[in-house]
């Protein structure tokens, strides 16, 4: 395998990173060749972003080495990396909105003239030259606050090329761009490649591979699956390699119960800039999964239904009656509960006891003459502890001391204390161990059997397939598929979620 070809632009060797008990990356090794565009793909949580953070010095790896241009490097921060010729542009570019474009481009190594004063003329000239080289027409004098996401990225790239750039990393650059802007970005990427520079592109849009990438590296569950020339793999191969893990045997397949009357129906739901024209319905006793990539708008749709960010368009029907979601308080009162993804920050009060958390949404009902009935509160909490099998020392235990899975159960108990008829769960098993996961699935199934309509948002495809009766797939703020779980596969969902429709897939 070893040859005498010039050393690669980037080589990672045996990169391993663990967070607590979960392994974000295990023994990842691959190379990015000089003068090529290298795509990095994988499902949500496959470890792509962690890898970028390690390479650019934002976080350190537990094990492994990084080589830049053949030399071993260990960056302590992104500035070191940039000095060595490695620059990264993130999904949400990090710039200074109050300063002008040229100031952003030159911040940190601005040209200075007499008395150590800024050489503004030179600053604008440098920036203009960078834009000319990129073929971008942006005014270096413009205030950064007014730029679009694409323009933010052009500023970041301009910033990268004014120093000696060897490798440019683009972290999902196209997710917020218009087709015209993507076209422009790709033209810039090709130009950089033709100048002999390397570009590493992290993307979810597989159709972009054919357009721009020379090589592709696939990560799955923190492990390196393979690196191939794009011309030698089909898109279907890539998808299969991305999701190729076996269905977890712990995920008991759901046997759909008897669905009842329609509990939640949304029609043409839209929120400016977030999602549009989303229509679906959920019946009592039904579990509907909602799949899609991170940032596709799944949580936003749920939060709109819950009244956190009221929809700007469309209609919501709850148990046959039309409602206008205005606030979570109102929707809870009407029987719709939403369990947020970041339950530690949004769903639970960490410093409070289990009892306080479970009874918080219903303290009003538990009060007599405005005074809290402590006995009733204790009774509700005790019952919840038993029902949801929370492993705790008692109802007075502080929530922050519980494990992730048990916290999730407390969060369940808390929202179910409001006796909703529709329950929306956002990534209910994110970050909890496999054993607790199965328990949470069991609870979800049991709740559906008692007649609740449940919408489960999850990035865990095997989970979605195992627990849902029906699956909605969201891509870029639109509902792109509504399929029976029995006929769906990870591949079909992934294809829909990455908008790779119209392509015939051969899955074994």
């Amino acid at each position: 395998m070893t040859d005498v070809s010039p050393s690669p632009a980037l080589r990672v060797e045996g990169i391993t990173k663990t967070y607590g008990s979960s392994r974000a990356l295990s023994d990842v090794s691959f190379e990015v060749a000089k003068g090529r565009v290298h795509a990095l793909v994988g499902e949500n949580g496959a470890g792509k972003s962690t890898l970028v953070k390690i390479v650019t010095g934002i976080i350190g790896a537990d094990h492994g080495k990084v080589f830049l241009g053949g030399k071993p490097v260990r960056f302590h921060n992104p500035v070191d990396a940039r000095r060595a010729g490695l620059a990264a542009v993130y999904q949400d570019p990090k710039l200074f909105p109050h300063l002008d474009v040229a100031e952003n481009i030159t911040m940190g190594n601005a040209p200075v003239g007499r008395f150590g004063m800024l050489d503004r003329k030179q600053m604008y000239a440098l920036s203009q030259a960078a834009f000319d080289e990129l073929g971008v027409s942006l005014d270096p004098h413009a205030l950064t606050a007014g730029l679009s996401v694409a323009e933010f990225q052009f500023v970041e790239i301009a910033r990268a090329i004014i120093s000696d750039l060897q490798l440019l990393i683009l972290d999902e650059p196209t997710s917020a761009l218009t087709p015209a802007e993507v076209e422009k970005l790709f033209r810039i990427v090709r130009d950089l490649r033709d100048q002999g520079k390397s570009v590493m592109l992290i993307t979810h849009r597989l159709e972009e591979l054919d357009l721009i990438a020379d090589d592709v590296t696939i990560l799955r569950d923190g492990a390196h699956v393979g690196t191939y020339p794009v011309s030698e793999v089909t898109r279907a191969d890539i998808v299969q390699k991305m999701v190729g893990r076996p269905l977890d045997s712990l995920f008991a397949q759901r046997t759909p119960g008897n669905a009842g009357a329609e509990a939640l129906r949304v029609e043409g739901l839209g929120l400016a800039g977030q999602f549009s024209d989303v229509s679906f319905s959920i019946r009592a006793g039904e579990i509907v999964g909602m799949a899609g990539l991170v940032g596709s708008g799944r949580s936003e749709i749920a939060q709109s239904c819950f009244g956190m960010t009221p929809p700007s368009r469309g209609e919501v029907y709850l148990n046959g009656k039309r409602v206008k979601p205005r606030s979570p308080r109102q929707m809870l009162g009407l029987g719709l509960a939403y369990l947020p993804e970041d339950r530690d920050a949004q769903g639970l009060i960490m410093a409070e006891s289990i009892m306080a958390n479970v009874t918080l949404p219903i303290v009003g009902e538990l009060a007599r003459l405005g005074v809290l009935d402590t006995a009733a509160q204790r009774a509700v909490a005790e019952e919840a502890l038993a029902t949801y099998d929370v492993r705790a020392t008692g109802i007075d235990q502080i929530v922050s001391l519980l494990s992730g899975g048990n916290r999730q159960k407390v969060a369940f108990a808390r929202w179910l204390a409001t006796k909703p008829s529709v329950l929306i769960l956002d990534e209910p098993t994110h970050g909890i161990d496999v054993g607790s996961k199965a328990q949470v699935h069991h609870i979800i199934a049991r709740l559906a059997d008692t007649g609740l309509a449940i919408l489960v948002i999850s990035s865990d495809l095997p989970e979605v397939l195992a627990i849902s009766d029906r699956i909605l797939v969201i891509a870029e703020g639109e509902l792109v598929d509504d399929i029976e779980a029995a006929t769906a596969t990870q591949e079909t969902i992934m294809m829909a979620a990455t908008r790779s429709t119209g392509e015939t897939v051969n899955v074994g």
Binding site: F96, L99, S148, A150, G273
Partner: protein
């Protein structure tokens, strides 16, 4: 190709809008000042005479230096509520020193600035390196610095006859018809403004407040920059304390207490954003003129003194609210533009 051009064309008005909105805050202060002046001029015939206008800017001069100092800290997304105590401490120590060394010349002016710089540095160390919330840290030092002044003074005060004559006379001088205090304030604010605008460090002060997360990615030494902002603030407060002492003649332990609120009001009214990254020291100085004008107008109209606090507080709340509303409007308009291109 045409689609590409359309994107660029759509970008043009958006850009000028962002800049316009930020400029609006400063020009808004000027407009507010003009309207305020017009109202007072109509209500009171004395308002517009030269002597009165001169009194207004004289009264505003020292506050404008403190407001500019406060602005530097605000721009870094921090806050200094100890400015009044720094002024008092620096002024009292300097005045006491001058009383005991009668022959001392204008070199004396360095003393309050050095003291102020040291007190500012302590604030900066607490906030930047100790990671104490700026409000809590400087609320604490506000009390500490004032307490130390009390301990040092032991119930005494320094009266005007104990101070060097040049000190008292210089602040009342006029140069070319302008009060020397006003000239000094303009020079200080101009130098500070130029420092922030034309030197790399100045731009970093804005950068840190504009986006602290990005600062780290850009390799800016955030802690050092915040410390510097507090030191600048302290030095200027020391200077302002000295000028104030010279102006009133009698230096007591409560000198400049309450100025933390007044300086904050002036800076915020002058368009300095409390959320960092935005505002001009010249705006803060103009804010001081606005407050002085309100004060003056209320006196002329014989409005009871007690209304001053109420109006000052309202000015802070009003200006900060306006900031939030304008900010939200800008975001909204940017978002709708963006949606338009998708």
């Amino acid at each position: 190709m045409s689609a590409e051009n359309a994107v660029i064309a759509a970008a043009a008005p958006r850009r000028s809008f962002g800049r316009f909105a930020l400029k609006l805050r400063v020009s808004g202060v000027v407009a507010f000042l003009v309207i305020l002046g017009a109202i007072f001029a109509v209500l009171s015939p004395q308002f517009l005479n030269a002597q009165n206008l001169s009194a207004i800017v004289s009264n505003a001069a020292i506050l404008s230096i403190v407001a500019a100092a406060q602005a530097v800290v605000l721009i870094t997304r921090n806050l200094d509520v100890s400015v009044g105590s720094i002024m008092g401490f620096a002024a009292y120590l300097t005045a006491d020193f001058a009383a005991q060394h009668q022959g001392i010349g204008p070199i004396l002016i360095l003393m309050p600035m050095i003291i102020g710089g040291m007190l500012g540095a302590l604030n900066g160390l607490l906030v930047a390196y100790g990671k104490v919330s700026p409000l809590i840290a400087t609320l604490g030092t506000m009390s500490i610095y004032r307490g130390l002044t009390y301990l040092y003074a032991r119930g005494q005060e320094v009266t005007s006859n104990m101070l060097p004559r040049w000190m008292l006379e210089t602040v009342d001088l006029r140069v070319g018809g302008f009060p020397v205090l006003v000239i000094l304030a303009v020079v200080v604010v101009a130098i500070l403004g130029a420092f922030l605008r034309f030197f790399p460090v100045g731009r970093r002060i804005y950068a840190v407040g504009s986006n602290p997360v990005a600062s780290a990615y850009f390799g800016l030494r955030t802690e050092r920059i915040v410390l510097l902002a507090y030191v600048i603030c302290g030095v200027l407060c020391g200077l302002a304390g000295f000028l104030y002492a010279a102006r009133v003649g009698t230096v007591t332990v409560i000198l400049a207490s309450g100025w933390e609120l007044t300086s904050l009001a002036a800076a915020v009214v002058g368009g300095v954003s409390v959320t960092g990254g935005s505002g001009l020291v010249a705006g803060a100085a103009l804010g001081a003129v606005v407050l002085a004008t309100i004060d003056n107008g209320l006196v002329l109209l014989r409005v009871p003194e007690f209304w001053r606090m109420f109006i000052q507080g309202s000015a802070i709340v009003g200006a900060a609210t306006a900031d939030v509303i304008i900010g939200a409007q800008i975001r909204k308009s940017l978002q709708s533009r963006r949606r338009g291109t998708i």
